[in-house]
Protein backbone atom coordinates (compact mmCIF):
# COMPACT_ATOMS: atom_id res chain seq x y z
CA UNK A 1 0.00 0.00 0.00
CA UNK A 2 1.52 3.33 -1.01
CA UNK A 3 1.49 6.53 1.04
CA UNK A 4 -1.46 8.11 -0.79
CA UNK A 5 -3.64 5.07 -0.25
CA UNK A 6 -2.71 5.09 3.43
CA UNK A 7 -3.66 8.76 3.73
CA UNK A 8 -6.98 8.09 1.94
CA UNK A 9 -7.64 5.17 4.26
CA UNK A 10 -6.89 7.33 7.33
CA UNK A 11 -9.11 10.11 5.97
CA UNK A 12 -12.06 7.81 5.35
CA UNK A 13 -11.72 6.32 8.84
CA UNK A 14 -11.65 9.81 10.37
CA UNK A 15 -14.72 10.80 8.34
CA UNK A 16 -16.56 7.71 9.56
CA UNK A 17 -15.74 8.65 13.16
CA UNK A 18 -16.78 12.30 12.77
CA UNK A 19 -20.02 11.31 11.00
CA UNK A 20 -20.94 8.70 13.61
CA UNK A 21 -24.48 9.08 14.94
CA UNK A 22 -26.82 6.63 16.60
CA UNK A 23 -30.29 6.02 15.11
CA UNK A 24 -33.10 8.37 16.20
CA UNK A 25 -34.66 5.72 18.52
CA UNK A 26 -31.67 6.01 20.87
CA UNK A 27 -32.85 9.47 21.97
CA UNK A 28 -35.77 7.75 23.75
CA UNK A 29 -33.35 5.28 25.39
CA UNK A 30 -31.19 8.22 26.48
CA UNK A 31 -34.15 10.14 27.96
CA UNK A 32 -35.34 7.04 29.87
CA UNK A 33 -31.84 6.26 31.23
CA UNK A 34 -31.28 9.91 32.27
CA UNK A 35 -34.75 10.20 33.85
CA UNK A 36 -34.37 6.95 35.82
CA UNK A 37 -30.91 8.07 36.99
CA UNK A 38 -32.25 11.44 38.22
CA UNK A 39 -35.20 9.80 40.00
CA UNK A 40 -32.89 7.25 41.62
CA UNK A 41 -30.58 10.08 42.73
CA UNK A 42 -33.49 11.68 44.62
CA UNK A 43 -34.54 8.31 46.06
CA UNK A 44 -30.98 7.60 47.21
CA UNK A 45 -30.65 11.02 48.81
CA UNK A 46 -33.99 11.03 50.61
CA UNK A 47 -34.99 7.43 51.32
CA UNK A 48 -31.94 5.17 51.39
CA UNK A 49 -29.81 4.76 54.49
CA UNK A 50 -26.33 3.35 54.93
CA UNK A 51 -23.33 3.50 52.64
CA UNK A 52 -24.73 4.27 49.19
CA UNK A 53 -21.72 6.11 47.82
CA UNK A 54 -21.26 3.36 45.20
CA UNK A 55 -24.84 3.95 44.01
CA UNK A 56 -24.24 7.69 43.76
CA UNK A 57 -21.19 7.11 41.56
CA UNK A 58 -23.08 4.55 39.46
CA UNK A 59 -26.03 6.91 38.95
CA UNK A 60 -23.67 9.72 37.95
CA UNK A 61 -22.26 7.46 35.25
CA UNK A 62 -25.67 6.32 34.00
CA UNK A 63 -26.89 9.93 33.87
CA UNK A 64 -23.89 10.87 31.72
CA UNK A 65 -24.47 7.82 29.47
CA UNK A 66 -28.14 8.77 29.06
CA UNK A 67 -27.29 12.33 28.13
CA UNK A 68 -24.55 11.16 25.76
CA UNK A 69 -27.07 8.91 23.99
CA UNK A 70 -29.40 11.91 23.63
CA UNK A 71 -26.50 13.96 22.31
CA UNK A 72 -25.29 11.53 19.64
CA UNK A 73 -28.69 10.34 18.40
CA UNK A 74 -29.84 11.44 14.99
CA UNK A 75 -32.85 13.67 14.54
CA UNK A 76 -36.04 12.32 13.00
CA UNK A 77 -35.06 14.15 9.81
CA UNK A 78 -31.30 14.47 9.85
CA UNK A 79 -30.04 16.84 7.16
CA UNK A 80 -27.03 19.07 6.62
CA UNK A 81 -28.55 21.90 8.63
CA UNK A 82 -29.05 19.78 11.74
CA UNK A 83 -25.48 18.49 11.34
CA UNK A 84 -24.27 22.10 11.16
CA UNK A 85 -26.36 23.14 14.20
CA UNK A 86 -25.07 20.15 16.16
CA UNK A 87 -21.48 21.10 15.32
CA UNK A 88 -22.17 24.67 16.50
CA UNK A 89 -23.65 23.39 19.75
CA UNK A 90 -20.61 21.15 20.42
CA UNK A 91 -18.30 24.12 19.82
CA UNK A 92 -20.22 26.30 22.25
CA UNK A 93 -20.46 23.50 24.84
CA UNK A 94 -16.71 22.88 24.65
CA UNK A 95 -15.77 26.55 25.06
CA UNK A 96 -18.33 27.22 27.80
CA UNK A 97 -17.30 23.99 29.55
CA UNK A 98 -13.64 24.97 29.65
CA UNK A 99 -14.49 28.47 30.93
CA UNK A 100 -16.84 26.91 33.52
CA UNK A 101 -14.12 24.52 34.72
CA UNK A 102 -11.66 27.41 35.04
CA UNK A 103 -13.94 29.98 36.67
CA UNK A 104 -16.45 27.99 38.75
CA UNK A 105 -14.04 26.78 41.49
CA UNK A 106 -13.14 30.43 42.25
CA UNK A 107 -16.83 31.44 42.22
CA UNK A 108 -17.72 28.62 44.64
CA UNK A 109 -14.75 29.49 46.84
CA UNK A 110 -15.58 33.23 46.80
CA UNK A 111 -19.29 32.79 47.44
CA UNK A 112 -18.80 30.30 50.29
CA UNK A 113 -16.33 32.67 51.96
CA UNK A 114 -18.62 35.68 51.54
CA UNK A 115 -21.71 33.86 52.85
CA UNK A 116 -19.97 32.42 55.92
CA UNK A 117 -16.57 33.64 56.92
CA UNK A 118 -13.96 30.92 56.69
CA UNK A 119 -16.16 28.91 54.32
CA UNK A 120 -15.08 26.07 52.07
CA UNK A 121 -11.47 25.55 51.02
CA UNK A 122 -10.64 25.92 47.34
CA UNK A 123 -11.30 22.73 45.34
CA UNK A 124 -11.36 21.93 41.63
CA UNK A 125 -14.51 20.70 39.91
CA UNK A 126 -15.03 16.97 39.51
CA UNK A 127 -15.19 15.29 36.10
CA UNK A 128 -18.91 14.55 36.58
CA UNK A 129 -19.77 18.20 37.20
CA UNK A 130 -17.85 19.40 34.12
CA UNK A 131 -19.14 16.66 31.80
CA UNK A 132 -22.73 17.10 32.99
CA UNK A 133 -22.48 20.86 32.43
CA UNK A 134 -21.03 20.41 28.93
CA UNK A 135 -23.68 17.89 27.91
CA UNK A 136 -26.44 20.12 29.31
CA UNK A 137 -25.13 23.15 27.41
CA UNK A 138 -24.79 21.10 24.20
CA UNK A 139 -28.32 19.72 24.38
CA UNK A 140 -29.88 23.03 25.39
CA UNK A 141 -27.98 24.97 22.74
CA UNK A 142 -28.75 22.45 20.01
CA UNK A 143 -32.48 22.42 20.72
CA UNK A 144 -32.58 26.22 21.04
CA UNK A 145 -30.77 26.64 17.71
CA UNK A 146 -33.15 24.15 16.12
CA UNK A 147 -36.16 26.02 17.46
CA UNK A 148 -34.95 29.34 16.06
CA UNK A 149 -33.64 28.02 12.73
Amino acid sequence: MNTEKLIDCERSHLLKITKFRLPHQFIVVGVVVAAISIIMMFVRASVMDGDTEWLKLLLQKTLLIGMLLMSVSKDKIEDEMTVSLRAQSYTVAFIVGVVYALVMPYVEFGVSNVVHSGGEVYKDLGDFQVLLFMLMIQLMFYHTLKRYR
Binding site: D75, D79, E80, T82, S84, R149
Partner: protein, 68 residues
Protein backbone atom coordinates in the same frame (compact mmCIF):
# COMPACT_ATOMS: atom_id res chain seq x y z
CA UNK B 1 -26.43 35.22 -0.32
CA UNK B 2 -29.92 35.87 -1.60
CA UNK B 3 -32.26 33.48 -3.30
CA UNK B 4 -35.58 33.25 -5.13
CA UNK B 5 -36.50 29.74 -4.01
CA UNK B 6 -39.90 30.95 -2.81
CA UNK B 7 -40.64 32.24 -6.33
CA UNK B 8 -39.39 29.04 -7.96
CA UNK B 9 -41.53 27.03 -5.58
CA UNK B 10 -44.55 29.15 -6.44
CA UNK B 11 -43.92 28.58 -10.17
CA UNK B 12 -43.95 24.81 -9.60
CA UNK B 13 -46.87 25.23 -7.19
CA UNK B 14 -45.29 23.11 -4.47
CA UNK B 15 -45.19 23.63 -0.71
CA UNK B 16 -42.09 23.83 1.47
CA UNK B 17 -42.94 20.33 2.65
CA UNK B 18 -43.10 18.96 -0.91
CA UNK B 19 -39.77 20.55 -1.78
CA UNK B 20 -38.21 19.27 1.44
CA UNK B 21 -39.34 15.74 0.66
CA UNK B 22 -38.01 15.94 -2.90
CA UNK B 23 -34.49 16.87 -1.80
CA UNK B 24 -34.45 14.91 1.49
CA UNK B 25 -34.30 17.67 4.08
CA UNK B 26 -36.70 18.98 6.72
CA UNK B 27 -39.30 21.67 6.04
CA UNK B 28 -37.54 23.92 8.56
CA UNK B 29 -34.35 23.74 6.51
CA UNK B 30 -36.22 24.93 3.39
CA UNK B 31 -37.76 27.71 5.48
CA UNK B 32 -34.32 28.78 6.74
CA UNK B 33 -32.86 28.76 3.22
CA UNK B 34 -35.76 30.83 1.88
CA UNK B 35 -35.32 33.34 4.72
CA UNK B 36 -31.57 33.57 3.96
CA UNK B 37 -30.72 32.28 7.42
CA UNK B 38 -28.92 29.23 6.07
CA UNK B 39 -26.68 28.85 3.03
CA UNK B 40 -27.02 25.30 1.68
CA UNK B 41 -24.14 23.11 0.54
CA UNK B 42 -23.31 22.70 -3.16
CA UNK B 43 -24.95 19.26 -3.11
CA UNK B 44 -28.22 20.68 -1.80
CA UNK B 45 -28.05 23.61 -4.23
CA UNK B 46 -27.61 21.16 -7.13
CA UNK B 47 -30.55 19.08 -5.88
CA UNK B 48 -32.67 22.27 -5.87
CA UNK B 49 -31.40 23.02 -9.37
CA UNK B 50 -32.58 19.58 -10.50
CA UNK B 51 -36.05 20.11 -9.01
CA UNK B 52 -36.43 23.60 -10.53
CA UNK B 53 -34.84 22.60 -13.84
CA UNK B 54 -32.66 25.71 -13.77
CA UNK B 55 -28.97 26.44 -13.12
CA UNK B 56 -28.04 27.20 -9.52
CA UNK B 57 -27.02 30.80 -10.21
CA UNK B 58 -30.48 31.60 -11.55
CA UNK B 59 -32.00 31.34 -8.08
CA UNK B 60 -28.95 31.95 -5.84
CA UNK B 61 -27.26 35.36 -6.02
CA UNK B 62 -24.34 36.75 -4.10
CA UNK B 63 -25.20 39.84 -2.07
CA UNK B 64 -22.95 42.79 -1.15
CA UNK B 65 -22.30 41.34 2.30
CA UNK B 66 -20.66 38.29 0.69
CA UNK B 67 -17.87 40.54 -0.59
CA UNK B 68 -17.08 42.12 2.78
Amino acid sequence: MENTIKVERAILNITQNDLAEKIGVSRQTINSIEANRYVPSTVLALKLSEVFGKPVNSFFKLSDSDYE
